[in-house]
Symmetry: C2
Subunit: 221 residues, 2 copies
C-alpha cells in the first residue's frame, strides 16, 4: 500500500505526524512525504525543518492520499499546480483523506463538492463556502473521502483507516504500540467544552491569521 502525504511550508506538524505514526505501521505500507516545489519545508511556527522524499511532480499515484493542514494549506488553496496535482492523484487512490484544514485544500480542488466532510472547528463555515457539507464530528467519511477534525484528530483518523484496511488485531496492535490511551489533564478539546469567551478569542485569533495568509497568497499570484 502506497501512502502519500503532502507536506508544505506552514504545515501543522502533528496533522501529518499523527496519522503517519499510525499508518506507517500497517504491514506492507510504504509511507512517503511529498512537497510542492522545494522539498524542504518548515512548520507553521518555523521550528520543524522537514525534507520530503520527492516533489509532487515526481509522484503520480497513491493508494491513500493524506492532506494535512496548517496556515500553509490556506496559501496552497490558490496554487493551481497543487490543486491540479490533488485532482490527478485522487483519480488513482482507494482513499483520499484530510486532517484539519487539509480539508479546505481538498475542497478548493473541487474534490469535496457536495460531500460531507469535517475540518478544524474554527473553519467549518469555510468548508461550507467551498462547496462541502460540514459535519462537526471527529472523523467523517463520504465514499472514499475521509476527513478528521483539527490537528490531533488525525491520530483517530489513522486508527479508523487502519481498522478498515487491516482489521481489528492489527489496529489494536498499532494502538498499543503507540500507547494511545489518552488522558488529557483538562477536558477542553472541543469548542462545546470551553467557555464562550475563550472560544471566541481563539476563533478570532485563528481566523485573523488565516485572513492574513489568504491575502498574502492572493498578492503573490
Amino acid at each position: 500500500m502506497d501512502i502519500v502525504c503532502l507536506i508544505f511550508d506552514g504545515i501543522t506538524a502533528l496533522d501529518a505526524i499523527g496519522p503517519y505514526e499510525v499508518l506507517s505501521r500497517l504491514p506492507g505500507a510504504r509511507f512517503q512525504f511529498v512537497a510542492p516545489g522545494a522539498t524542504t519545508v518548515r512548520s507553521d511556527n518555523g521550528a520543524v525543518c522537514w525534507t520530503a522524499e520527492a516533489s509532487i511532480e515526481q509522484v503520480s499515484r497513491a493508494d491513500l492520499l493524506l492532506v494535512p493542514g496548517g496556515i500553509g494549506a490556506r496559501r496552497l488553496m490558490s496554487n493551481p499546480e497543487v490543486l491540479a496535482w490533488l485532482r490527478a492523484l485522487d483519480l488513482t487512490t482507494q482513499l483520499t483523506a484530510s486532517v484539519c484544514t487539509g480539508a479546505l485544500l481538498l475542497a478548493a480542488s473541487g474534490l469535496l463538492q457536495g460531500r460531507k466532510a469535517t475540518t478544524h472547528w474554527a473553519f467549518l463555515d469555510t468548508l461550507r463556502e467551498l462547496g462541502a457539507t460540514p459535519v462537526a464530528e471527529r472523523c467523517v467519511r463520504d465514499g472514499k473521502y475521509a476527513s478528521a477534525a483539527g490537528v490531533s484528530a488525525g491520530i483517530d483518523l489513522g486508527l479508523s483507516l487502519a481498522l478498515e484496511l487491516a482489521g481489528r488485531d492489527t489496529a489494536e496492535a498499532i494502538q498499543l504500540s503507540i500507547e494511545y490511551d489518552p488522558q488529557p489533564p483538562l477536558d477542553a478539546g472541543s469548542p462545546d467544552k470551553v467557555g464562550a469567551a475563550l472560544r471566541q478569542a481563539l476563533f478570532d485569533r485563528i481566523r485573523k491569521l488565516d485572513k492574513r495568509a489568504a491575502a498574502e497568497a492572493a498578492e503573490r499570484r
Copy 2:
C-alpha cells in the same frame, strides 16, 4: 522560555511532535530541536527526514529539556557524549522531561537514579534495571523530572506541563487549538486493555528490535 528537544536517527517522530505541538504554543516559548552529530536525522522507519536547528555541542542551556524515544534512543544509551550532554543540560533546566523510551536514555545518564518515572509499557522493567522506580501511569512526576508513557502520551505530558507553566486558560486554549478531544475507534491503548496473546506478541517483537539495536550499538563502540 527556552525549550530544547533532542532528536536523533531512529526517533519515533510522534514522541517529539506531540509535546512540540502543545509546548511550542506557550506564550513566549522558543522551541528548538537539537541533534547529536549531524543535524539531519531520520525517524525509526526512515520516512521522516528532519533537520535540527543545532547540534548538541552548540546548546548549553534550556529551561525545559525534552527527550523523546524510539529505537535510536537505545543506541544513544551507550554514547558517552550524549549522556554527558544530558547531564550538563539538566543542570540548567527548570524541567527535564521524557516521552516513551526517552526515559531510558535519561536513566542511562544517571538522572533518574532512585526517581519515579514511566516509559513505554514494554520497557518498564528496563527502566528499573537502569536505577529508576517505574510507575505504570500515563505521566509521572518526581521533582523536576516529568516522564510520559509510550509515544502518544507526550501530548498529555505537554498539556500537563502547559497547565503548570501557564495556567488553565492557556492550557485550555492550546488543547482547543489542537482539538485534542480523543475518540479512538478502539480501546486498545494500554496493555491491560488487549488480549494476552496480542500483548505478548507485540512485547516480543518490540524487545527483539530493542535487543538488536543494543547489540549494534555495543559493536559500534
